[in-house]
């Protein structure tokens, strides 16, 4: 079990959200889109070095800016 930010997870890996270290606005935004502590995600890709991260959450595909992704801390097997 490793604790790692969404930015550093490799593509095509599953993970579980441990914490979101952003402000309340970001937290509630993510909450409204179904991303919160305990949620299982799958990282699909990462564009460029400081580019956005694409994830699959449930049946939706979301694109998160690099800064947002860096604030989502997950655990991977």
């Amino acid at each position: 079990m490793k604790k790692i930010s969404l930015v550093h997870i490799k593509a095509d890996r599953k993970c579980r959200v441990l914490e979101i270290s952003g402000g309340t606005n970001l937290q509630s935004k993510l909450m409204n889109m179904g991303i919160f502590k305990g949620k299982e995600l799958m990282k699909l890709s990462h564009i460029g070095l400081r580019g956005p991260v694409v994830i699959k959450s449930g049946r939706s595909i979301l694109a998160l800016g690099h800064g947002v992704a860096a604030k989502i801390i997950c655990e991977v097997e």
């Binding site: 509630s28 935004k29 889109m33 699909l44 564009i47």
Partner: protein
């Protein structure tokens, strides 16, 4: 007693399509979140009663986190709950995420009816939803629909009156998600499907390598197609109509026109070698219709055809992901590419759609970039028409100058403006293949909009210009600006008329350059200046509305400054 019906739902679930079905009011709908930035209203007849229907911008929750969401939620609370009905539209392929808003609406005591849209798509994807069970659990009417084809809409209308508040305890966020998980388990059945070709494409377009290859290919192909279709319409349809049908009629008219005075000058303009020349005569009946119908309209049709196709398929948000890195340098995020692309059609909807961007700073940067560096279709069509005969080098040159300008300007604005630019957080829609009929409707709607706005302005504009020219009133302006125009930009002093007219409409302005017999270099400079300098009056008004007076002045000063620098640089340094 229902007095108002609200349509509410997550972004990109097809609210606008349902709205069009209910009210018959045509609105633009696309396959990306945030197409609707304005609140649209229409009417629906139920049992002989006319009820107002309001299409709200998409929102994920009743606790808004952006301006568009806030606007939607505030409007919903404007009327007493007893007097409204709320149609909550959900994407059946993604029931789980959509149910959050539904539960919130029910908890808040709104009279809700659920509309499970895109149910045909859900079927294709192997998602089965037991609507009766969902209805039993939530105790509100649930109607499966497919708004694109119209299936289920009749039933939806019939059952609107059943919407009533249901007592339900309020939950905390995480509790609510758990509750949704329990509901989903009971009502949704997923069949395992193998990856379809569509899903493989969806996946490839968001990965760095394959995504970039696809993007480059698509952008290139789109550009080629726009030119191909545009030229096809010109060569096969409009030019034959103008030259073989319309010109002989006009020639006969001029033949019988004995006194070639003021009125002749107004309507026919100057004869070139004793004949009417659609590009140079400058009359209300000659050049004006030729500019609009013979040069601009074909490209308006081809541009909006390709843009609508890309929008409805759902490619644009994927392009946004790939461009996020670059746009960050300009103080924007990837999604800003959508307003920019719309701006290539017409700056007005482009600037209006900057509302999807959250901070004021982003909206200022995006609007300024669009009004300065993004030429609209009418202007581009005229640039093709005029510069095209000097070779592709000059046409691509104009784009190159504008593109560099966008980059430089964006980087400078990003470094100097205070404020913040938030990060990008959007949902990527699945690819959808729109029925041709929907596409045709959207194209018709946009082309009609163009004609209604452009034709009267062009006809009256040319009339007005001809009167001023006849009375030689432009000579005063020409005299004042001659040093700048001639000395700095290397253009003949008559070109000032075109630059001034640019404020009215860009296509007419380029039209004014046609009789001047400019060299390739002069045309290049004039066309570039027309693109950068003052936006047309319609864009100006929208800028004012969206940015406020202070930022409008700021944006305008930047514009004047850049026009002078770029015009001078092109004349003295680059094209010397």
């Amino acid at each position: 007693m229902i007095r108002k019906i609200y349509l509410i739902g997550n972004p990109n679930v097809g609210k606008s399509v349902v709205f069009s079905r209910l009210t018959g009011v045509q609105v633009i709908s696309s396959n990306y979140p945030g197409t609707t930035v304005e609140i649209t209203m229409g009417y629906l007849l139920i049992g002989g009663e006319k009820i107002e229907v309001v299409d709200l911008p998409g929102t994920y929750s009743l606790e808004p986190t952006s301006h568009a969401e806030e606007a939607a939620v505030n409007l919903l609370k404007e009327h007493p709950k007893e007097e409204i009905a709320v149609i909550n539209i959900l994407d059946s392929t993604n029931l789980e995420r959509n149910l959050l808003l539904s539960l919130q609406l029910i908890e808040e005591g709104f009279p809700v009816i659920l509309c499970l849209n895109m149910c045909d798509d859900a079927g294709h994807k192997g998602v089965q939803i037991d609507t009766n069970k969902l209805e039993a659990i939530l105790r509100v009417p649930v109607i499966p629909t497919c708004a694109v084809t119209g299936a289920g809409i009749k039933l939806l209308i019939e059952r609107i009156r059943e919407a009533a508040p249901i007592p339900r305890g309020k939950l905390e966020h995480e509790e609510r998600w758990k509750e949704i998980g329990r509901i989903i388990e009971q009502v949704q059945h997923l069949e395992h499907r193998h990856h379809s070709f569509r899903e493989i494409l969806e996946d490839a377009s968001v990965r760095p390598l394959t995504g970039l290859v696809m993007a480059a290919g698509l952008v290139y192909a789109s550009f080629k197609f726009v030119r191909f279709i545009g030229e096809f319409i010109i060569n096969k349809v409009t030019d034959p109509l103008f030259f073989n049908l319309y010109q002989p009629v006009l020639e006969r008219l001029t033949f019988h026109w004995q006194e070639k005075g003021f009125w002749f000058h107004l309507f026919i303009g100057d004869l070139i070698n004793g004949k009417i020349d659609f590009k140079q005569s400058l009359g209300v009946l000659t050049t004006a219709p030729y500019i609009e119908f013979g040069m601009v309209l074909p490209y308006v049709i081809s541009f909006y055809f390709i843009l609508s196709l890309l929008e409805d398929i759902g490619y644009l948000p994927r392009l946004a992901i790939l461009l996020d890195n670059i746009l960050h340098q300009l103080g924007l995020h990837g999604f800003a590419i959508i307003p920019v692309l719309l701006g290539f059609g017409c700056n007005v909807p482009g600037i209006m759609s900057t509302r999807v961007l959250e901070s004021k700073r982003e909206r200022f940067i995006a609007s300024t970039i669009i009004s300065i560096g993004v030429p609209c279709v009418p202007l581009q069509a005229m640039i093709f028409g005029l510069l095209g005969r000097f070779g592709g080098f000059y046409v691509s040159g104009v784009y190159l100058v504008l593109f560099s300008l966008i980059l430089i300007l964006g980087i400078i604005l990003n470094r100097t403006l205070t404020g913040y630019s938030p990060e990008f957080l959007i949902e990527i829609p699945p690819y959808r293949f729109p029925p041709l009929q929907m596409l045709a409707q959207k194209l018709y709607f946009r082309v009609k909009g163009f004609l209604i706005e452009a034709v009267p302005v062009v006809l009256i504009g040319v009339l007005f210009i001809n009167i001023l020219l006849y009375l030689k009133l432009f000579d005063i302006v020409t005299g004042i600006f001659a040093p700048i125009i001639q000395g700095l930009f290397g253009l003949p002093k008559e070109a000032i008329v075109a630059l001034v007219i640019g404020f009215l409409r860009k296509d007419v302005a380029v039209g004014m350059l046609m009789p001047l017999g400019l060299s390739a270099k002069q045309l290049f400079i004039a066309a570039t200046l027309l693109a950068i300098s003052f936006p047309c009056v319609a864009t100006f008004i929208v800028l004012w509305k969206e940015l406020g007076l202070k930022d409008l002045v700021k944006s305008t000063l930047i514009m004047i400054f850049i026009s002078i620098i770029v015009g001078g640089m092109l004349n003295f340094v680059i094209l010397r």
